[in-house]
Amino acid sequence: MASPPTLRRLLSHPWVLGVLGILTVFLFWLLVTSIGVVDKLFLPSPAAVWEAGSSQFQRGILVNDAMASIRRVFLGFVISAGLALPIGIAMGTNRTICHLLEPLMALIRYMPAPAFIPLLIIYFGLEELPKVMLIFIGTFFFNALMIMDAVKFVPSELVETALTLGGRGLPILTRVVAPFIAPQVLDTYRINMASAWNLVIVAELVAANEGLGKRISLAQRFLRTDEIFVGLIVIGLIGLMIDLGFRFLMRRACSWAN
């Protein structure tokens, strides 16, 4: 049996507390559905959701949908992140480029990305391209502006030290600026990945043949709340995994910053 101090230490562990929080909500859900105060149609029981999930899994729909959504997010986000990095760095280091692009980007950033969906459908139809484009539009400007900010906060002493050590040009960028901003860049990607993940679901709700969002909108048509729950939980879990992946990467690659 755990003695009180050990118990307290255990309870104050962030992971334990996190699991406890999730468990509490789960138990509450279990309780509410098992005493039947809410219509099953509105709030399916955990068992029913599990049932629907494993049925989808066995039919291969679940993995198929998840892969479709992940592929779109991945494509759109890789393009966004890959372009935002050089452009953000250019804006952060060059005043002319910054003055030229910052107002434009700040403006577009405030246009809600989902509002571009009708336009994207008109331009690119209903295939993959509009969805990938939506993720690009929804994350690129945030990525670029946040990377620009990270670059602007590189202490000038670090750059000037390199200059007085005989450094010049590109090595300053690759050996001073890049390592310094790496943790913030990873964090920027982690944060904006969340909106990419949101956007792909929104895009699929509107128009798609497959994907986790598509499955949810189909489920709505047939009042299958259990399948909606499956979709929501899977979306949440995949998002969480991506988030943890970025955190892990950051701890490994940038241990100096912690």
Binding site: E157, E160, L163, L165, G167, P171, W256
Partner: protein, 255 residues
């Protein structure tokens, strides 16, 4: 080595925002000399140093190092800043090696020189530690080792101990004095602290602000065989008091 700052003026801004920060500064520094610039905040000490380092260009006048005009930063003028002096993602050894590897020196040479200069500053044991694992004083010693590793003709120190607390500062002053004696380096030190300047420098220039200019120069002829003793010796205290009152009267006349 001969560093010559001739009638240098510097202003920042343009039009109505034009601000004259330095007016007619002339300094001369030769091999083995240790010079200090003392002055209140805003008197342009850092600007003088940045001009010498080549990080800024003079608005008027010239700066020559061994007959060649200074136009840009270069490894012949090593610099140590007060803050953010080390690359936080590199170990102490990698920081010392940084300039050498920027210059594309060979691996063996880099390793050997890094070890040598870490040893010079007494930090051979800290080679693998990250800056965050080092005390403030150790960090500044690594920064000095890094600046020395590329063998600059002159070492520029901009309040290198300004962020350290008093006790560590005193031991760092002793360290720097000892380093100067052992290696015969040439140094220009900026400080707020008259005591620090008098302890370390053979020549001390007092600067006054608005616009920044040298108002007084002292050649310090004190016996430096024992710094601890020197700190409390009568001639030292008298000289310190004289300069302190000079600085005070400068501030007073500006109010």
């Amino acid at each position: 080595m001969h560093l010559q700052v001739s009638q240098v003026s510097k202003s920042f801004g343009t039009g109505r925002d034009l601000k004259l920060v330095l007016e007619d500064i002339s300094l001369e520094l030769v091999s083995g000399q240790f010079m200090a610039l003392v002055g209140s905040s805003g008197s342009g000490k850092s600007t003088v140093m940045r001009l010498i380092a080549g990080l800024e260009r003079p608005s008027a006048g010239t700066i020559h190092l061994d007959g060649e005009q200074v136009r840009r930063p270069g490894s012949d003028r090593g610099m140590v800043f007060q803050k953010y002096s080390l690359y936080p993602w590199l170990t102490a050894a990698q920081n010392v090696a940084f300039g050498l590897s920027l210059q594309g020196r060979g691996k063996a040479e880099i390793r050997e020189r890094t070890a040598y200069f870490l040893d010079v500053v007494g930090l051979a044991d800290a080679a693998r530690l990250l800056p965050k694992e080092l005390s403030g004083g150790m960090q500044q010693r690594v920064a000095i080792a890094r600046a020395l590793a590329t063998e600059p003709k002159v070492l520029l120190l901009d309040e290198p101990f300004g962020a350290l607390d008093l006790q560590i500062r005193e031991s760092m002053q002793e360290f720097l004095h000892d380093l100067w004696r052992r290696t015969g380096l040439t140094a220009l030190l900026i400080t707020h602290d008259i005591e620090e300047a008098l302890l370390l420098a053979g020549t001390v220039h007092i600067m006054a602000p608005r616009p920044g200019r040298v108002v007084h120069t002292v050649d310090v002829g004190l016996d430096r065989s024992d710094l601890r003793h020197l700190r409390v010796s009568q001639p030292f205290l008298e000289l310190r008091e004289e300069l302190a009152s000079r600085l005070r009267s400068l501030d007073g006349s500006l109010l």
